[in-house]
């Protein structure tokens, strides 16, 4: 059985020619490589204020002093940072006139994933004005948010329109000094999303980048900042379950979340970038820094379903600074073929009576390597801190690997920390049982994996959960039997 995603990607790549699309060398692309001049150019092209340029340059100068990290359980080919283009205006995708022009194979995948037609059109690159309701839906959406005083816009727009908020919060949770890729991102970030929920406001709908106007082409160095002011609530969705084609091999995003006193933020990700072909060639490298800071009584919940990318390096974390704050991390990371993932979380307990919960479900198939890496740290003053961690691994086949690197550092004797871990395989008996009831082996694997991941999947918003479940099956096609 062929790898579905690969097929679609191939078809898509071929289809550029089919639709007579020729890539013009856009005038709005700067040469390869990184230097102070390049950063000045990026900042100028984005018409940024002087203070933003200064921030970028500071980050760049710091980055120059850093070495590429190699502590993860990953085999990362050497990356030539001078061979990367750091700024390109949003690429124009070939616009199609109707759904009939969309590749039938891609349509089949959309249907399998159960993606609504309107969203399918946007993803497949059907001209937006051909999507009847799309504009009005977005307008209604924006108006509702505006009434509540919620800001939801691109990072570029935020830098121009809300400089006080950006100056106050950008880099406050993930400073440019944090790590190699955080420094790089701070120097060259292309765009991203900014979201601000005012005091006491409960955001009435799930915020998803899909609804953000001009969401196209945010590029490879994405920067996201979410600020939930006192007592507010927001549920934020990142990504999309449809196979995303991307020419950028290197991705280094930063997501910062500020959870003010008694605020509550739920951040859900489904990541399905191109994982490379069956030999592992050409997939995306995904080096992400995600962190949230919780003040008194604040609550942050990360949920991620990771099935894409050739290499994933990602640890959504919670700094539980305020007393009685709490953090959660729910993760399903699935790797197949030659994919590698090193992912997990950090729960940093600083305030008193802080609580955290970690549920990580790794699924390895093919020749992939899947590592959970976690840190639970209880600082000296964190009286009464509690953590519960559960790390499970599921192996499919006998050529893949699952690894767990849980680290616990407790500096306070009142802390209660629990850790559980299991490793299991899909057994022949389970498959035989399902087959005997009339299910095909692929359906059976999908069902068993879905059951295994259920605790995490059910944390996702409803429609997302259904898509994520199907995505897991789709990503495993051909891995058994």
């Amino acid at each position: 059985m062929e790898n579905e995603t690969k097929n679609i990607i191939n078809e898509l790549e071929g289809s550029d020619y089919k639709y007579g699309f020729v890539t013009d060398i856009e005038t709005d692309v700067i040469p390869k490589g990184l230097s102070e001049d390049v950063i000045r150019l990026i900042s100028a092209k984005k018409q940024e204020p002087e203070w933003m340029l200064e921030r970028r340059l500071k980050a760049y100068r710091h980055w120059l002093t850093l070495k590429h990290p190699n502590w993860a359980h990953l085999d990362i080919p050497e990356i030539d940072f001078q061979d990367v283009i750091y700024y390109a205006a949003p690429k124009q995708k070939p616009k199609l006139n109707s759904m009939d022009e969309v590749d039938p194979e891609l349509k089949r995948t959309f249907d399998k994933l159960g993606i609504p037609l309107e969203e399918q059109m946007a993803l497949a690159g059907v001209a937006v004005d051909a999507v009847m309701d799309s504009v009005s839906v977005k307008t209604t959406f924006r108006e509702t948010l505006r009434e509540k005083g919620i800001i939801f816009c691109s990072m570029s727009e935020a830098i121009r329109e809300y400089p006080e908020l950006i100056q106050k919060y950008l880099g406050s949770v993930v400073p440019y000094t944090d790590n190699f890729y955080a420094a790089l991102n701070a120097a060259v970030f292309s765009d991203g999303s900014f979201c601000y929920i005012p005091k006491g406001v409960r955001c009435p709908m799930e915020l998803s980048t899909y609804f953000r106007i001009n969401a196209e082409g945010t590029g490879q160095f994405e920067r996201t900042l979410i600020v939930a002011d006192e007592g507010s609530y927001v549920s934020y969705l990142e990504g999309c379950t449809a196979p995303q084609r991307d020419e950028n091999q290197l991705h280094a995003a930063v997501v910062e979340i500020v959870v003010e006193r008694d605020a509550d933020v739920k951040y859900s990700t489904v990541q399905n970038w191109y994982p490379g072909d069956k030999q592992g060639r050409g997939g995306v490298y995904n080096f992400v820094t995600k962190r949230g800071l919780c003040r008194e009584g604040g609550h942050l919940s990360w949920t991620q379903v990771e099935t894409g990318s050739a290499i994933t390096w990602k640890y959504p974390s919670c700094v539980l600074l305020g007393d009685n704050s709490s953090g959660e991390f729910y993760s399903v990371a699935l790797t197949n073929n030659y994919q590698q993932a090193d992912t997990g979380t950090k729960m940093i307990h600083i305030g008193r009576n802080t609580r955290s919960r970690i549920v990580s479900k790794g699924i390895s198939a093919g020749r992939s390597q899947n590592a959970y890496r976690g840190l639970v740290r209880v600082a000296k003053g964190a009286e009464g801190a509690r953590n519960y961690s559960q790390c499970d691994s599921l192996l499919i086949g006998d050529k893949c690997g699952a690894h767990t690197f849980p680290v616990i550092e407790s500096h306070n004797p009142t802390a209660v920390l629990e850790h559980e871990a299991t490793t299991s395989k899909i057994s022949e008996e389970q498959l035989f049982y399902c087959n005997q009831r009339g299910l095909s082996t692929e359906d059976a694997v999908g069902l068993i994996v879905g059951g295994y991941a259920r605790e995490v999947i059910q944390q996702l918003p409803m429609e997302f959960a259904v898509e994520a479940q199907k995505l897991l099956s789709l990503s495993l096609e051909g891995s058994v039997g």
Binding site: E428, Q430, Y433, C434, R437, G438, G451
Partner: protein
């Protein structure tokens, strides 16, 4: 319905079935008995298509088709049901969801549309009543944390849901107390019709007080060495297998 001729099967180098001959017609109930290790469960597994075993010789005709050319799931969709001796746990997958998928796969094979949620719930209620299955069990993960009796009832519930042509029940009575045994056996009897057939594999004749067989076969060292009617089971219960085995050795 089922015609097994000279069936040989092995696991690794070890031959377990050594020439089985068996014919089952619609409307019949067959019991297969025999001492431990005689190949009873292997026969059930081979008929269901378990790939752990290699069929080395012989033929099996099922509903006019060569059964051995069909995949496990095709056999199931064509109405062959295996009640497992050790039902398998699938964590995180509810029984209701599992059966919904199974029922709809069976319907698809027959060219029928999938059941609506309401139709499915009605079917589930109706069928779980047959085995007095606690409806709460269908909301729990497949066989996970089920007691021995619940697991066996659950097998018959699935049989009722899938309405098979040929049901092979592998030691469905093992580990059941007398009440559970009655419930399971009554369930099987209520599912019996003129157009379906049941093969019951059992150690004890007590199950056959409830499920009255038309034929009782004795399996020994991979062969059916004797076939009789219900009275044979009673005789075996009283006298054991030795008299048969001795006869067989003399042959």
């Amino acid at each position: 319905m089922l015609k097994v001729e000279n069936l040989h099967a092995s696991v690794g180098d070890k031959e377990i079935l050594r020439g089985i001959n068996l014919e089952v017609k619609a409307g019949e109930v067959h019991a297969i008995m025999g001492p431990n290790g005689s190949g009873k469960s292997t026969l059930a597994s081979v008929l269901a298509g378990n790939e752990k075993f290699t069929v080395t010789a012989g033929s099996v005709e099922y509903m006019g088709e060569d059964l051995m050319t069909l995949s496990i799931e095709e056999r199931s969709r064509k109405g062959l049901f295996l009640g497992f001796q050790y039902p398998v746990e699938i964590p995180g997958v509810t029984m209701a969801n599992f059966m919904k998928l199974a029922v709809n796969e069976h319907r698809k094979a027959k060219g029928l549309a999938p059941l609506t949620a309401a139709e499915y719930l009605r079917l589930m209620r109706e069928k779980s009543a047959i085995v007095e299955l606690d409806s709460k069990l269908t909301a729990r993960s497949v066989n996970e944390g089920f007691s021995g009796g619940e697991k066996k009832k659950n097998e018959i519930f699935q049989m009722a849901m899938l309405d098979p042509k040929l049901a092979i029940l592998d030691e469905t009575d093992s580990g059941l107390d007398i009440d559970a045994l009655r419930i399971v056996a009554t369930g099987v009897t209520r599912l019996k019709r003129e157009d379906n057939a049941t093969v019951v594999i059992t150690h004890y004749q007590r199950l056959l007080d409830y499920i009255v067989p038309d034929y009782v076969h004795v399996l020994y060292k991979g062969r059916i060495i004797y076939t009789g009617d219900k009275s044979l089971a009673l005789k075996l219960e009283k006298e054991g297998y030795d008299w048969l085995i001795n006869d067989y050795k003399e042959e």
